[in-house]
Subunit: 360 residues, 2 copies
Amino acid sequence: MPNTAARDHRFLRALRREPVDMTPVWIMRQAGRYLPEYRATRQRAGSFLALAKTPELACEVTLQPLARFALDAAILFSDILTVPDAMGLGLHFVEGEGPKLARPLRSAADIERLGVPDPERDLGYVMDAVRLIRRELAGRAPLIGFSGSPWTLACYMIEGEGSASFARAKALAWNEPALMHTLLDTLAKSVAAYLAAQAAAGAQALMVFDTWGGLLAPAQFREFSLRWLGEIAALLKADPVAKDMPLILFSKGANAHLEALADTGCAALGVDWTISIGEARRRVGSRVALQGNLDPVVLAASPDAIRREVQAVLDDFGAHSGHVFNLGHGITPDIDPAHVAVLVDTVHEMSRNGAAVSTG
Amino acid sequence: MPNTAARDHRFLRALRREPVDMTPVWIMRQAGRYLPEYRATRQRAGSFLALAKTPELACEVTLQPLARFALDAAILFSDILTVPDAMGLGLHFVEGEGPKLARPLRSAADIERLGVPDPERDLGYVMDAVRLIRRELAGRAPLIGFSGSPWTLACYMIEGEGSASFARAKALAWNEPALMHTLLDTLAKSVAAYLAAQAAAGAQALMVFDTWGGLLAPAQFREFSLRWLGEIAALLKADPVAKDMPLILFSKGANAHLEALADTGCAALGVDWTISIGEARRRVGSRVALQGNLDPVVLAASPDAIRREVQAVLDDFGAHSGHVFNLGHGITPDIDPAHVAVLVDTVHEMSRNGAAVSTG
């Protein structure tokens, strides 16, 4: 599915660490509640899940931020818990409380009976959305497909909902590591198949959100998160379509592990805002591209402050290729969309004129 | 107030990086809701704040965990927001929602009119509690006094309550840095005076909880958190009593800054569980002692897993002096007290017999 025009887009060039005319930028959760048009579509859909499960509506909200801002990538609008839902755990949302699973994993038998979902059969609404969005984008910007990481999915599947500490999930890892690996193995196969199917349907880059990896102590992170991220990278390398799609890994709060994450074979790492992106670059060298890492809260500050902080991130990364500008975490609902325009335009202006980015 | 017996206690010896007979251990939030006797006293007090503000009750709950477990230190039972309360912001608690301030800072005038509280006059209930606890401890274990950090107090004072991102506080730092520093300067003077008064009243070690420092990007951390932690260390060094009391700084989630924190002149650093304590030791060398860093969730696992993970932390720290065993964050209300006994006893047994700790 990749064509010459798409290959030449600055977002994909930056992921390949090739020179670009200016630094590409997109924003995690760019199709979200801070946009009035998103809230209107969400209202029309009746529920978050109806929005995510109706390809036409998912396509509509995916494209909304690209109509407003000069963003360099679109990201599939979906939820990270679609895979557990397809496994039969019953995803639903309680207003103001976030995602819940009706049938969390409570026994070894619950884990052992889990199968790997067939993406086209069990997650057809996602594949239809990917195909529709890719067609509607018509080459304007590349499309990113995504999934939650095995560890992050396991956290939710064991707790049944969000948690500050995911104590049940961690306790299972300490008490019954073999059983936890059985679960993570099933999840790694499921995530890899899901991402490969998104690539076959038209996604041009793939991202794994390891949202809760950073809750783990170093040895646990390596055993229960990193190992299975590496397995996904290896499985995708063996897939005839996905092998050509850049894979972005984002382990939030796991900056101690950047070198090891870079060694998984991924194309790029997401970086949160609690580390200097210059230091991250020095540590991983030119092995991978880096995506980040402005503190999302900067968008609540004044336009002048936003410009200053954008410049600081660009300066910090320096005159290397391989930078995709992004926030260090998702944009929050309270942000003024006018501030997002300031961010996007500033990234382009300052990286085009400044010394920070080599020109292609 | 220090006497020879107190100076010889293994907790204070470890903070001075002197040899000890076994690794000392205490637990953040050790006087807390996981203990049925704490819940009973809390019930009798009528509210959390009545408990914290009644010296006899604060003393009672401070001593409760020492009656159950072979802990090597007591920590004053109090709240980190006593200083903003003494400044007139109106601390109160809403059941299930955490602390609130009735009069958060909303303007430059609000900030400029803040004064430095006189600890004996404005926080007399804390000083009375320290005196009473010290007397009741009767040398069994050293007493730790504490405060929130300037940055952490500023976060609550600006938001008026807890927050996932403290967007108002961060935005003030970006938009009006001079005004933020006015606030932090007042807070640093207030915290230093408060800690010095606790030392004069009998506290034998002092700890600053920089709970929200880890939310800051590196440059912001250095400017708005670290700088004022250093100021507190310097102010305490100039105090005739506090200068002899070891100061422990704990910036949760700020592992990127351990070297800089060690250079503030403090005696020890708290370390959360997301970094190997061996790596932390290699980075700070023998400049400071380290306190930590077992994942608090380990206490939700089996006794066998707890023993294994305690041993892993001891092995990771290695055969140096200067280790105070602790969790990497506070104990949570769901923990079985029997598991705490396993932890405390295991630390002592394994460090006495093992090669991990030099003998005094």
